[in-house]
């Protein structure tokens, strides 16, 4: 939480984390969004222990249960509060299992993109000159294409699969991190503490990673939350179009796509409930990220 220390000017004798938390929870919407996000994460992590069935264990799924409206009783006895899908899976269970996949793909690709983008951005800012020019040309070039189109192009070439989707999302997103880190690092490297570190004879790598990087974390965290939300939404979009995750990895996007064919006949729940879960996830991450930006940005302080 060193980022909060450096960005909040208040001279009160509190721990930095408490001060940061107090500021964050001043906004009721952001607090609500954070609680919702935590609930979603807990539900996703605990899915195998709290769902009435494992929707991908064929011995637990009964075809006679297919396309039941919300609130119907399953053959096995429990109530399907959200109804069932075309193959008789309990939708509530399928959604929690889907959340696991959607969240992990989004977070893993976000983290890889963050590490790669961060390193490249730092190199650009610290090396300067031709290296920086070349890197930033590539970044600008990539950002001139919409991220969704870049991901779609890669998927079109690479094909389906979890590893390929993660690769596509990483390639589509690293440039946002690189641009953010470079912009912040350029400001930081002119500050006095970097000068001091240089005078102490510290190595370049040490200055960049131990001194400059921690001070670039605040904007990185903000970009990271927003980009993770967009990665989740992009994965869902690709999976919905049938070019993302395969049926063996049923993320929320795959569930929504499976329900699409039933929608015109009025069986709305098969698509709508996974969609609401996706919505709740993306919107809560975005609201948290949006408020983090306000809290972590010293310029917006009154």
């Amino acid at each position: 939480m060193s980022d909060a220390t450096l960005t909040s000017p208040a001279p009160r004798v509190e721990t930095p984390f408490r001060r940061f938390a107090a500021e964050f929870f001043e906004s009721k919407i952001a607090a609500g969004a954070l609680v919702m996000l935590l609930v979603i994460i807990v539900l996703a992590v605990l899915a195998p222990w709290i769902t009435p069935q494992n929707p991908y264990d064929l011995s637990q799924v009964d075809v006679f249960d297919s396309r039941l409206p919300p609130g119907s009783d399953a053959f096995a006895g429990y109530t399907m509060w959200l109804g069932s899908d075309g193959s008789g899976r309990d939708l509530y269970s399928a959604i929690l299992y889907g959340l696991r996949i959607s969240l992990s793909v989004g977070v893993v690709s976000g983290l890889i993109a963050l590490v790669i983008g961060m390193t490249i951005g730092l190199i650009a800012a610290y090396a300067g000159g031709r290296t920086e020019n070349l890197i930033m040309r590539v970044v600008d070039l990539q950002l001139s294409f919409p991220a969704s189109l870049v991901a779609l192009m890669l998927v079109a070439i690479l094909g389906k699969g979890v590893d390929k989707i993660i690769l596509a999302l990483v390639v589509a997103q690293w440039a946002y991190y690189a641009r953010t880190v470079r912009a912040t690092a350029l400001v930081e490297r002119r500050k006095e503490y970097v000068e001091a570190a240089k005078c102490l004879g510290l190595s370049k790598a040490r200055i960049v990673f131990r001194h400059i990087l921690p001070n670039c974390l605040a904007p990185l965290i903000v970009v990271g939350t927003v980009q993770t939300a967009s990665a989740i939404s992009l994965e869902a979009t690709l999976s919905f179009l049938g070019v993302g995750l395969p049926q063996t990895e049923p993320s929320l996007g795959v569930l929504i796509a499976n329900g699409f064919e039933y929608m015109l006949s009025g069986r709305y729940w098969i698509s709508v409930f996974p969609g609401l879960a996706l919505l709740a996830t993306v919107v809560s991450i975005n609201l948290v990220g949006d408020h983090l930006r306000d809290v972590l940005n010293p310029r917006l302080k009154k």
Binding site: S148, L149, A156, A236, L241, V243, I256
Partner: protein
Amino acid sequence: MTVFIIRRLLQAAVVVMLMSVIVFFGVNVIGDPVYMLVSPDADQAEIAATISRLGLDRPIWEQYWLFLKGAAQGDLGNSFIFGEPALQLILQHMPATLELAFSALFLSIALGIPLGLYAGLYPDSRISKTVMAASILGFSLPTFWVGLMLIILFAVELGWLPSTGRGDTVKVLWFHTSLATWDGLQHVFLPALNLALLKISLAIRLTRAGVREAMGQDYVKFARAKGISTRRIISVHVMKNIMIPVVTVMGLEFGSLIGFSVVTESIFAWPGMGKLLIDAILQLDRPIVVAYLMIMVLFFVIINLLVDIIYSLLDPRVRLQDQGA
């Protein structure tokens, strides 16, 4: 100025070449080129014929040269499904996509600017707050999900509008359009609205920010002091000043409208380039995929080139900075 344009043109050419290398190696080296470029139900003789026709038995640089030569002549291979040249198929589907994108652009300007104007003039009113909250949703909701909801609401539940297809088209000049018939307009409305949502939100935010800034400016105060009616101040003086940045940004977003139309076209079964691409990916119709990728690269490079040139005309600093670099 000429030097600047020539430099930018050269850069654009380098980008196109780089992308062609990436696309070519993506398709021919990462994947199995025979599997990628020969239709899945081809027999041994056909496979052998294709291998020799494409020169897959030759060194990789020679293959790339052949690919480039074909691309320069507009030959990116034939579609497996339709048996027609891939490039020609994409060009045939382009008017439908452009029609959708232009309708979406029109909607985002026609809805976004008045709403943003209202929100900027009365920032504390309840309607403005609702509009701004809705614009946040417009940014964070996935496009495909909103499309599904539009279909459920307007096509399935209310039955007001058709959910798929293009409706009656009429031939105007050299292409077919849905915008000239009532049935076609009904068909275009939902997909265009779906595609426009993100841009409507963008237009609302830009206009609101512009209006709030402009209302505090001296020229507005002066106009007030002269006794000009509020109506005239807003419609003539304020609007003139905020329209330039708003329209510029919306114009720049046109490229991303074409990119996003892939999603909207798939949901609403709109027969444009985007749907052609998704169908081609699903049916392993590789030549169409390659052709689509090359056309989109070219398209975006041209848009960026035009933007750079227009900016440098408007703002000489861009030009000078480039010379210094």
